[in-house]
């Protein structure tokens, strides 16, 4: 699915920061296409999470973000939530609330055109997303009784239940075991295959190589390089942003692997 031009997410001239500290100084990003997983890569402090939070509307910024002929900066919190959803890196672990009610609260939190507003359809929709994420059997468990991986899956379910066309994920696999990492990533793949624009921050270069359609490498609030994973994640760009020597080799199945040489 390629989509129309106005289905692209266009991020231009973003200036943002925290207090007097400027993190992004006029950053522009190539148009992001529906159906793709776009991964932001770069060292700590590169501005990846800041960019994600700007798109999510969580911090104030200057510039423009165009999507479907709208400037996201001009939309209210409620309007923006119809298009964009953000999954934070960490979620509270002390909430005594069943998984299903947490999902329902995400739907009930603000009006949403595409959902039937009666309780039955909201419940059905919430159960549906839990089934898709594979945690329907945890529906009645309280969030504070879940493992870290299960809690992340529950958070992912809440992020997609409103059917956002832009899904933003801040390190979705950090603190997850290998099994949950693979599970979360293949779910994210399927959400992108629905025609969403998925933008995520990852630290694991091999995971980015394996799952992304497009990689944007950042350093010091600026774009270093971008392109298909094998193009963007090359020894040169990795050395440039991390100062680490790596080589890229094909594994026995022909998939590119990044191997650290130091």
């Amino acid at each position: 699915m390629t989509g129309e031009e106005n289905d692209f997410l266009e991020i231009r001239d973003i200036r943002a920061g925290y207090g007097s500290r400027v993190v992004l100084n006029g950053l522009s990003v190539p148009p992001l296409k529906p159906g793709q997983i776009i991964t932001l890569i770069g060292p700590n402090g590169a501005g990846k999470s800041t960019l994600l939070r700007v798109v999510a509307g969580l911090i104030k910024a200057e510039g423009t973000i165009h999507y479907k002929d709208r400037d996201l900066f001009k939309l209210s919190v409620q309007e923006r939530a119809k298009y964009v959803s953000f999954m934070p890196q960490t979620v509270p672990n002390d909430v005594s609330l069943p998984v299903i009610d947490a999902v329902i609260s995400a739907l009930k939190a603000s009006p949403f055109d595409q959902v039937g507003t009666d309780n039955e359809s909201i419940y059905a929709r919430s159960m549906g997303i839990l089934e898709r994420v594979g945690i329907a059997d945890l529906a009645l468990k309280e969030l504070n009784q879940l493992s870290g991986g299960q809690r992340q899956l529950a958070s992912l379910a809440r992020s997609v239940v409103r059917e956002p066309s832009v899904l933003l994920l801040d390190e979705p696999t950090s603190a997850l075991d290998l099994r949950h990492q693979v599970r979360v990533m293949s779910l994210i793949r399927s959400f992108a295959d629905d025609g969403r624009i998925v933008v995520m921050v990852l630290h694991d270069l091999n995971m980015a190589m394996r799952w992304s359609d497009y990689v944007i490498v950042m350093k010091d609030g600026a774009l270093v390089t971008h392109g298909k994973p094998v193009q963007a994640l090359n020894p040169e760009s990795v050395r440039q942003v991390y100062g680490v020597t790596v080589r890229v080799e094909l594994c026995s199945r022909g998939l590119p692997q990044i191997i650290v040489d130091e």
Binding site: A81, D94, I104
Partner: protein, 346 residues
């Protein structure tokens, strides 16, 4: 587990929550009746119920005692308990802090300072009837303190943590000011102020019951309307915004509700601290954090504990009514500890 089973279990969970709320209603009603019956002359519960619902069917003396003395006291206990507990629940949610209570942000110290101005210096505004002066001052300062905090945190664009810190700073400031007033006050005025600050239901009358009841009746529907948003806010501020919640506005209006509830309650009965902490926790332990249910449960458990405290304040030293603010903690703490331990065992 198939989806029909889950749906079935979900429904029975909701039914369970509703039963807990019904049980709380029964508990509150029972405590309320016992509270009315308790006093220097103990009454028969049946007689109390008759006096409340069929005033003409009981003796004049009973009717007068129930309607003029006992009932205002007991109704005020319910209202104050409900108001402070609801305020506590909202405060814990918006500040994302289980230790928060209506008094976290210095509201009680501000109210006490207002009351101290009226009691110790007879300071107040001329258009207010002197008998309302203490309540008026307490209300104005409590409400003003929260609004000032809101203003400061808005211009500073600071987060929740800074709001709590500013609140603590406010608390210390007002306590220092109270200290100064106490230092210069006369012995009689000081005694009066100490009594006020311990919190007592003895100032209850039908006028201030109507005011507090009215405030509750106006505020509760707004709290109920915000209940899904409050539930979602518990999932983290970033997530809540991503679900389309204007968190700044939600927090602001919740703080307005909290300050109105707290300021009105404190204005009429003085500072009764523990209820705003324990009420919401009892609700959460019984029902969890789904605000659809924890909100009514908090209202009821606050009213219940306050009613028990009111009963105890009349029983502990026969003939004298101890200030209920002191008793609240004594009654609330054991109940609280028991609930925490019984939840752990489960």
């Amino acid at each position: 587990m198939d989806s029909t089973t889950i749906t079935h279990q979900y429904r029975s969970r909701i039914r369970k929550n509703i039963s807990v709320i019904l049980l709380l209603i029964v508990g509150v009603a029972a405590a309320f009746c016992v509270d009315i019956a308790t006093g220097p002359s103990m009454m028969d519960i049946g007689e109390v119920v008759k006096a409340v619902f069929l005033p003409d069917s009981v003796e004049l003396a009973t009717r007068v005692i129930v309607w003029e003395v006992r009932l205002p006291y007991s109704v005020m206990a319910l209202l104050v308990g409900a108001a402070l507990s609801l305020a506590g629940l909202e405060m814990q949610t918006i500040l994302n802090n289980p230790m928060a209570s209506p008094f976290t942000l210095g509201v009680s110290a501000a109210a006490a300072f207002g009351a101290a101005l009226a009691i110790l210096l007879s300071a107040g505004v001329s258009f207010i009837d002197p008998k309302w002066m203490v309540s008026f001052n307490a209300f104005v300062f409590a409400f003003g303190a929260v609004m000032l905090l809101q203003f400061l945190s808005r211009i500073g664009r600071t987060g929740v943590e800074a709001l709590v810190l500013l609140g603590i700073a406010m608390d210390f400031t007002f306590k220092a000011l109270i200290g100064i007033l106490q230092y210069v006050a006369s012995a009689e005025a000081l005694q009066q102020f100490v009594f006020w600050s311990l919190g007592s239901l003895s100032r209850a009358n039908w006028e201030n019951i109507t005011i507090l009841g009215g405030v509750l009746a106006v505020i509760v529907p707004f709290s109920v309307a915000a209940s899904w948003q409050m539930t979602a806010l518990r999932l983290g501020e970033d997530s809540a915004r991503s679900y389309g919640i204007n968190v700044v506005r939600l927090r602001f209006f919740s703080l307005v509700r909290v300050s109105l509830l707290t300021a009105t309650a404190v204005a009429f009965v003085g500072t009764i601290g523990f209820i705003g902490l324990v009420g919401p926790h009892i609700a959460k332990l019984l029902i969890g954090e789904d605000h659809r249910f924890s909100l009514p449960a908090a209202l009821l458990s606050g009213a219940f504990v306050m009613s028990l405290a009111s009963i105890a304040s009349k029983l502990i030293s026969p003939g004298a009514i101890l200030p209920v603010g002191v008793i609240t903690s004594l009654i609330g703490v054991p109940l609280f500890v028991w609930l925490i331990f019984s939840k752990r065992r489960k």
